[in-house]
Amino acid sequence: MSSAAAAEARTAARGGKYLTFALGKEEYGLEILKVREIIGYMDITAVPRTPPYVKGVINLRGQVIAVIDLRLRFGMQPAERSDQTCIIVVEIRHGGRKLFTGIIVDRVSEVLDIPSEKIEDPPAFGAAVDTDFILGMGKIGDSVKILLDIDKVLGDEEKDALAQAAA
């Protein structure tokens, strides 16, 4: 009973506006409150000696921000750049600090209002992605959007290391 109630509370908190985007054939959603802006693909300066999914850094109006290739982060095949490739700048909170990070996606789709009753917990079986970063599955009509917990996409362990480096 109590676990069901807790699950319900969690689901209720998940309802809201999501920015949806595509990576390959799959559609993903990102809480709109985490999104700062969407920019077209631009030249990225590679930073040597970093993991492959760290594409490098860009100059966002004078601020240097890191850019992550979400495909590589999720272990997918890299894709050719197209007109639709873009960078979503997201804001991640960690220990009271704001970090801006860009994520490269194939294409941005739309902003959807997904009510909490349309959101289900991620399936427990293996999927193309690690279920740890998944907030839930949003059912829109016949399609399913994978709603991402972008804070977790960056990896807790990794973020701790970052916070330590910054301290």
């Binding site: 030249d43 590679a46 930073v47 040597p48 240097v64 921000i65 990070t101 910054a166």
Partner: protein
């Protein structure tokens, strides 16, 4: 006296006192209200018998008159002060009458006497009015310290927090200048100017602490001030013991201020300081014990020891002229939060970049449009001036750090029973605030090493035919776009043989290898050699020198050693002027551009086939002017595709770090530019071989190479 009238009178007086607290000479309705209250008081008192009632009536009438003067704007500040005094006295009489105490005839004529309420209940309810009266009534008494409040931790008023924060910063400044002055006094006990400086520092700290109700700090500063007051009047000679006590007081004050900061940050005021009573006692003992002329002997006060008087007399002239000089030195300043300053500097950095972007995009049009060309040039000039100005705003003299070193040498030398003189010069040299903050620790380390291991004990020095007193020189100066800080001692110098032996034992150097003098000295920075305690005895130096080197490298600086056995050692630290901007060479590798800091570059050259060789086990090497240097291919280190593979078709940039040199293979040198350093952001963090990013004129980001880190990465 009629009870009811009395209590009505009490109420009226209290209301009057309360309105006085919120007194605003422009608030006419309030003034009129107070006027009515005074009339009522005088009426009530008029219906009563006795001396007290008469006094009350008289006072109320005085207040009434004063109020009407204020309302009609016939009078200024004095009327207000008199009003305050009058009301306070009124209150006192009334409350005494209510309390049933037959007060001695207090009349309006005694209005000049300071009102010292013997804690009557009513007076306590309006402390502000009472305090106002106290101060205005006895300006002389205001200089004397008010009794420090109880030691019990007072409640922290949230409104006070910004004031206290400001006080903490100010107090630190005062403590620092007091410390410097104390060291001057120690050398020249009759330096009245220095004594005055210490006195002023304590005096200011005391004043502000009193205002903020920081009783403990106040009483410490007060006791020290009393001691120094005697000293500056020539009534007390500052013996070494006294100076020690003053330094102790300064140390304790420093700690109390630090404690205050942490406690206030967590919303409290610090509790009683355990060591305070002890230090206070010693200060008082010094004040009383060493006093040449006790206050009782007024004749002696007028004519203390003649020698002292003449010294004082001589100095009075300079002390007199000193005041305007100090005024001129303290130019009008504004305190600005450092993060605001930092963001201003960042914004200016952006402006510089934006300006060069604009210039690049219109460069094709400039030939045809003279007006545009002129305007663009003008914009560029302003931008550069703005950049220089904003950079200079963050520059602070290194003097403060040098002062700390003076204190350190004094304490360490005493502890080690050595005689050491610290001579510093160039304290006015300015560095970026961040550099000044970060250079303190490495300097402390190097000075400590010089005192502990560099300078010999006096007897040993005498035997070696040197003066008993050792000497450490601390210098700062500009040299070719960087700041140089030099620490030299005239001690025993580094023992090359022993360092080398140790290095061979530790496996850092192979037996039979003959490293150069510089290479041997550089060994003391090696963590394997320098952290071990035993090296201290061997090399005479070395505890934590690796940390020193790392810290200096973090500031993008370098450290060099020169030493002659028996004659001393010199450490030369070279630092960039500022942390925010560097001069760099832009090198292209494939499609990437990297910025190599100019400070690490020796030269660049295109090698011939004869210069290149591959040494077994050590990789590619290049012979440059007789020295065989390792050759590192940047494109391999950084995995850059499409770079020039043939060194003879590319360029070699010779970089150096602490006598370690290497060649970096790049495709081409694109240009030289001053760039603003940007961190790569917390997302990426620290990358070995990269110290940050810089936004180039075209808006693209380019990586700035961290040469020491790069060499380590390449050698690994």
């Amino acid at each position: 006296m009629a009870e009811t009238t009395m209590s009505a009178l009490g109420e009226l007086t209290e209301r009057l006192a309360a309105s006085l607290v919120a007194f605003d000479p422009n608030d006419l309705p309030a003034l009129a209200d107070m006027h009515t209250q005074c009339q009522a008081i005088s009426q009530q008192a008029g219906g009563l018998q006795g001396q007290q009632a008469q006094g009350v009536q008289k006072l109320a009438q005085t207040a009434e008159k004063l109020l009407s003067q204020i309302i009609l704007r016939e009078s200024g500040e004095e009327a207000l002060q008199t009003l305050g005094r009058t009301v306070a006295e009124l209150q006192q009489i009334v409350s005494q009458a209510i309390g049933g105490e037959a007060a001695p005839a207090a009349t309006a004529s005694s209005a000049q006497a300071p009102a010292a309420p013997a804690a009557p209940p009513a007076a306590q309810e309006t402390p502000v009015a009472a305090e106002e009266t106290q101060e205005s009534a006895a300006p002389a008494a205001a200089v004397a310290p008010r009794p420090p409040p109880e030691d019990a931790p007072a409640q922290l008023n949230p409104d006070d927090v910004p004031l206290i924060t400001e006080f903490i910063g100010e107090a630190r400044g005062h403590i620092e200048s007091a410390e410097a002055a104390v060291l001057r006094v120690e050398e020249q006990p009759d330096d009245i100017e220095a004594i005055n400086a210490i006195f002023r520092s304590f005096h200011t700290v005391k004043g502000v602490a009193g205002f903020l109700n920081l009783g403990q700090i106040g009483s410490l500063a007060h006791s020290a001030e009393t001691l120094l007051d005697l000293a500056r009047k020539g009534e007390l000679k500052l013996s070494p013991a006294t100076v020690d006590v003053i330094l102790e007081a300064i140390d304790l004050l420093k700690e109390m201020v630090n404690r205050l900061e942490t406690e206030v940050a967590s919303g409290r005021l610090p509790g009683p300081e355990a060591r305070l009573p002890d230090v206070l006692k010693r200060l008082k003992a010094a004040t009383a014990g060493d006093s040449i002329a006790p206050a009782a002997d007024s004749a002696a006060k007028a004519a203390p020891a003649p020698a002292v008087t003449s010294a004082t007399g001589e100095r009075t002239g300079s002390a007199g002229t000193e005041k305007p000089a100090a005024g001129a030195a303290a130019e009008a300043t504004v305190k600005v939060a450092t993060d605001r300053l930092d963001s201003l500097i960042n914004m200016v950095g952006e402006l510089v970049i934006a300006e060069s972007m604009v210039r690049q995009s219109v460069s094709g049009l400039l030939g045809n449009d003279l007006r545009l060309a002129r305007n663009v040039a003008h914009l560029g000039k302003i931008t550069r001036e703005l950049q220089g100005l904003s950079m200079s705003m963050r520059m602070v003299p290194i003097q403060g750090v040098f002062q700390k070193m003076a204190r350190l040498v004094r304490d360490l030398a005493r502890k080690a029973c050595k005689e050491i003189e610290l001579v510093s010069s160039g304290g006015e040299t300015e560095l970026d605030r961040n550099v000044v903050e970060a250079i303190g620790d490495p300097l402390v380390h190097m000075i400590r090493n010089a005192v502990d291991h560099g300078i010999e004990p006096p007897e040993e020095r005498q035997k070696a035919g040197k003066p008993r007193c050792g000497r450490i020189d601390l210098r700062a100066f500009h040299q070719g776009g960087s700041i140089v800080i030099q620490i030299s001692d005239d001690g025993r110098g580094l023992n090359k043989r022993k360092i080398l032996k140790k290095a061979v034992d530790a496996g850092l150097v192979r037996e039979g290898q003959e490293p150069s003098e510089q290479e041997i000295f550089a060994l003391i920075f090696h963590p394997g050699l320098s952290t071990a305690d035993r090296v201290t005895d061997v090399s005479g130096r070395g505890v934590g020198m690796d940390v020193v080197k790392r810290n200096i490298e973090m500031l993008r600086g370098r450290v060099e050693i020169a030493s002659a056995e028996g004659r001393g050692t010199t450490f030369t630290v070279r630092l960039p002027l500022t942390l925010a901007v560097i001069d760099g060479l832009i090198a292209r590798v494939g499609q990437e551009r990297y910025i190599i800091p100019l400070i690490s570059i020796e030269q660049s050259l295109r090698p011939t086939v004869q210069q290149l060789s591959v040494v077994q086990g050590r990789g590619e090497m290049c012979m440059v002017r007789g020295a065989l240097l390792p050759l590192y291919r940047l494109h391999r280190l950084f995995n850059v595709p499409g770079a020039v593979e043939d060194p003879t078709a590319a360029l070699l940039v010779i970089v150096q770090d602490n006598q370690r040199r290497a060649c970096l293979l790049v495709d081409q040198i694109v240009g030289q530019q001053q760039v603003v350093i940007k961190s790569l952001g917390e997302r990426i963090g620290k990358v070995q071989g990269i110290s940050g990013g810089a936004i180039l004129g075209d808006g693209n980001i380019s990586m700035i190479l961290d040469v020491p880190g790069l060499m380590e990465a390449a050698a690994a």
